[in-house]
């Protein structure tokens, strides 16, 4: 499904049916998926259609821009470094290109959405929540449902810590796709309660194509500005 479609878009599999029809001179984008049918009339001409995974924080409505992945307990002694693999949900973005400008046409997902709260209600954040198993190598994933995150953890503090979740800011995500959807991230544990999560701009193996970013980080960030500071613990 992922890729660039010149003018004519026709894609069909047992779960998703995407196409562009013509209503007179007006192009109509049609998506049939999960028992629903979406129709959108394009108010302009277009040069191409792009379909790629996008930051998984948009559905069913924009409530948060944080992704939380919960996983089985990982114990990290002081100064330990470990690379693990986690799965994350995939949201699919459909863009139309016109005169080198990209516009979002549709975002959908084949995975149910669940939200959670990280931190206390008074100053915590709502997160898009996903439960993943913990893998020691790149896991097999269903291309249109799940991606694989390579997460490198480093414990900089002097105590042993237990980690059961990682929270990320979607503004810093670097999504790639190809045979699978993938990201590379890091988690630097600074104290038993504080960790910094970031994303690397490098493409993981098997994911040569960079996705179109819906959210981009601030150009003039105050402070670290390169990731999300988890300040309410990791367990």
């Amino acid at each position: 499904m992922f890729g660039r479609y010149e003018r004519d878009l026709v894609y069909a599999d047992p779960e998703v049916n995407l196409r562009i029809d013509q209503a007179g001179t007006i192009p109509v984008y049609i998506r049939e998926c999960n028992g629903t049918r979406i129709e959108k009339y394009l108010g302009t001409d277009y040069d191409a259609i792009h379909i790629c995974p996008v930051e998984p924080v948009n559905l069913p409505q924009e409530i948060t821009h944080h992704l939380e992945i919960a996983f089985p307990t990982l114990v990290l002694p002081p100064a330990a470094q470990k690379t693990i693999y986690l799965k994350f949900p995939v949201e699919i973005g459909v863009f139309f290109e016109f005169r080198h400008e990209m516009s979002v046409l549709d975002i959908f997902s084949l995975v149910p959405t669940k939200f959670s709260l990280y931190g206390p209600p008074s100053n915590g954040v709502i997160t898009r929540w996903y439960q993943s198993a913990l893998f020691h190598k790149i896991p097999e994933t269903e291309l249109h449902r799940e991606g694989a995150l390579e997460l490198s953890l480093v414990n900089h503090c002097t105590e042993t810590v237990e980690v059961t979740r990682a929270v990320f800011d979607s503004h810093h995500m670097n999504l790639f796709y190809g045979d699978r959807v993938g990201m590379t991230g890091t988690m630097e544990i600074l104290s038993p309660l504080i960790a910094l999560t970031t994303f690397a701009p490098t493409a993981p193996a098997g994911c040569p194509n960079k996705s179109i970013d819906l959210y981009t980080s601030r150009k003039f960030a105050v402070g670290p500005g390169k990731g999300y500071m988890m300040e309410s613990g990791m367990a």
Partner: protein, 306 residues
């Protein structure tokens, strides 16, 4: 000394000029300049407001942006007054400022309610108990804050009524802000029959809550028996959800989303929500001399009534 050397015609013009002073010692030219400066300050204020809207609307909240633009516009107009008006009366800026303060004091004493509202507004701007778009409840009124002004707060109720509440009234009463925190809890109670399986009921409800998108995974929902009353076993479930999603005080989204699913799922499993019922036993049954209030006697009684 200079006037001594001038012809009589100049003296006449000077006298005419004095006669044409409209305010204090201000000449027509100064007054015209004052009004031109006022118009310029007004236009510059509008341009700056537009500029702030373009450049800062994604960084500031709407009410903060409105306050900033209002402040800049008022400041520009005040500048024109402060630097133009003293010249009209041959006054220094300091004396003019003193007169201004005295005027404000007089107006303040004569309009205490207005000042009280203004102070309330300033206090609320400082304490920031809510912002535009929040859903609040104060006194008898609940609704979405449309704007926070210097003297009052505008609220749109869920039934679409526009309510204006004076700031001092809000500041001196309890205000509940349903958007202040990112998540909120909502409680439900469902009654089931005594003979229904409680464990199965809680398991079904927990399953529905786990599947539903807007019920937060953490804090996890609680499902438990909260009471056993005369008619039913009361099962309570408490769920947390994102505040921005429900948007109202009565959490109508949660009610419409969760309760019908729970009812349908329980009924599908044969668990029913009982009607309130009473069993009446007669110690002196009708038409029976045995003295035992049996069901048969009761049926006979209702049969006779029919």
């Amino acid at each position: 000394m200079i006037m001594q050397g001038l012809p009589n015609s100049t003296v006449v013009i000077s006298t005419l000029s004095d006669e044409t002073n409209l305010i204090g010692t201000a000449s027509t030219r100064e007054i015209v300049t004052f009004f031109i400066l006022l118009i310029i300050a007004y236009i510059v204020g509008l341009i700056l407001a537009h500029y702030f809207k373009l450049k800062l609307s994604h960084r500031l909240k709407p009410d903060q942006l409105a306050l900033l633009t209002r402040f800049v516009r008022v400041f520009l107009i005040l500048l024109v007054f402060v630097f133009s008006l003293p010249g009209f009366f041959d006054l220094s800026v300091t004396i003019f400022a003193l007169i201004l303060v005295a005027l404000i004091a007089i107006i303040g004493i004569s309009s205490q309610k207005v000042i009280s509202n203004m102070v309330g507004g300033l206090a609320m701007l400082y304490e920031n108990p809510f912002k535009t778009g929040d859903f609040i409840s104060t006194g008898e009124v609940s609704g979405t804050v449309i704007s926070t002004r210097l003297f009052s707060v505008l609220i749109r109720t869920t039934s679409g009524v526009h309510v204006q509440i004076p700031n001092d009234q809000i500041y001196s009463s309890d205000v509940s802000n349903f958007f202040a925190h990112v998540a909120r809890r909502y409680d439900y109670v469902v009654g089931i029959r005594y003979e229904d399986d409680v464990k199965k009921t809680t398991s079904i409800i927990a399953g529905i809550l786990k599947e539903y998108t807007f019920v937060l995974a953490n804090p996890a929902p609680d499902v438990f028996v909260s009471d056993i009353d005369a008619d039913s076993v009361r099962v309570m479930f408490r769920v947390w959800f994102p505040s921005v999603w429900a948007k109202t005080k009565d959490d109508i989204s949660l009610q419409t989303a969760i309760l019908p699913r729970v009812k349908a799922a329980l009924e599908a499993e044969g668990i029913e929500m009982p009607y309130a019922h009473r069993e009446i036993l007669f110690t002196n049954p009708i038409g029976d001399q045995s003295g035992t209030g049996t069901t048969q006697n009761r049926d006979n009684f209702f049969g006779k009534l029919e």
